[in-house]
Symmetry: C2
Subunit: 235 residues, 2 copies
Amino acid sequence: MAAKSRPKSDAPDASDRVSRIREGVTAAILEHRLLPGTKLGEDEIGEIYGASRTLVRTALQQLAHEGIVNIEKNRGAFVARPTPADAREVFEARRLIEPTIVDHAIDAASPAWIDRLQQHLAEEREAELRGDARASVRLSGEFHRLVAEMSGHSIYLGFLKELIARSSLIILLYRRHDTPACGTDHHAGIVAAIRKCDREAARAQMLSHLTEIEAELFLKDPAADELRLADVLGA
Amino acid sequence: MAAKSRPKSDAPDASDRVSRIREGVTAAILEHRLLPGTKLGEDEIGEIYGASRTLVRTALQQLAHEGIVNIEKNRGAFVARPTPADAREVFEARRLIEPTIVDHAIDAASPAWIDRLQQHLAEEREAELRGDARASVRLSGEFHRLVAEMSGHSIYLGFLKELIARSSLIILLYRRHDTPACGTDHHAGIVAAIRKCDREAARAQMLSHLTEIEAELFLKDPAADELRLADVLGA
DNA sequence: CGGGCGAAGATTGTATAAAGTTTCGCCTGT
DNA sequence: ACAGGCGAAACTTTATACAATCTTCGCCCG
């Protein structure tokens, strides 16, 4: 009888080997080292991480479920190439969900969390000073994930993880080349609103932040990404 | 060179063997033939579907990502047992997302879609007349999924699929035994609002519908599900 | 008589090998 | 010279075999 279902060591993405592969490939995609459309051969990745194709396959399937990898039957896995329509859907979803997330984050506000947020802001400013666009995008995504973790809602967190991953891909694909790093100031404003427990301000700033990010994108016609991809591939 | 990257036959859950397994297990869980906490042995399922453990494993991993199965390392896969806290998160997310979904569904309203919705309402009424609780829950979920498909937003659709699957599990676990089948009338009202292109009415009715479903649940303390499960297991 | 230790059995995690499919190059025929 | 088809190579898919881990049952000791 007694033996109950103890949660045990239930680390979500612990030090599994498949998690290492998944995070490695994710980082490579999000840092633009793997371009959209690139084929992800199982042997290739397996040799890099010293793992068998079995593990690589499960990692790729997870990435496919996250939406940053496409798996075509009998053809293999490729880095996803979100269309402008996909981009609009992703940002609409974020505009819907994230204001609610900050609202809940305020409920969970504590000195420890505030400290963590401000520490993150410092990292973002540093990356921006260096002009490191890759790190900027990555840290910007992590800021939003941090707020979601703070909210304590696992459902929203899971959804947002997926949206952030896709957003990073979208931003790297469609960002206007002349725009500066997107508003770190916005993040600071959101944190300030959270500190003051000003729900309306936090929601409004999150919303305008997301709107501005999308406005800085080049989401014209479906052919645009083809052109851009061709340009980037240097062919 | 030009003709590249056609989407091809990209049926999401086509007639793959792994999809058949996934859908079969999903149906069994949602129809309460597999109770929460039940162990899903790989050999066992593999023998049922005449498939090797490789395929069963991938199906189980997909179900785990959908949230209706828990996989514990070196222990196996089990039917998920959502806590009351999980239930509240799921329904909060649905209250956030679904009003927006109906809004978009109105944009996509067409005679064909209206017909399909009404046809579905007829099926629901029939199941309700039979007093078939299983079919009622299943069809209720399918109604919401239908509206999401109608909206044309793949992101929302994906999220909602997950939420519906979890909701079915939650409803079957925590439903008060004396409540009648939850409002088929509500669904009819939502369809009527969609037909009239009355956005505000549609959003409001969807919201109140979800609120009422959650209100009919027995979401008291965390120990409640333990008791109920023990009761259900008949031990 | 109760509790802890230990070995056997069962089950999952991982790797490797066989099978099927697609793709690309090459060759032949017109 | 060009179009079409044949064939081989590479890849994914699926199945099987091996290794690691956990569970369970029995036994011994206190």
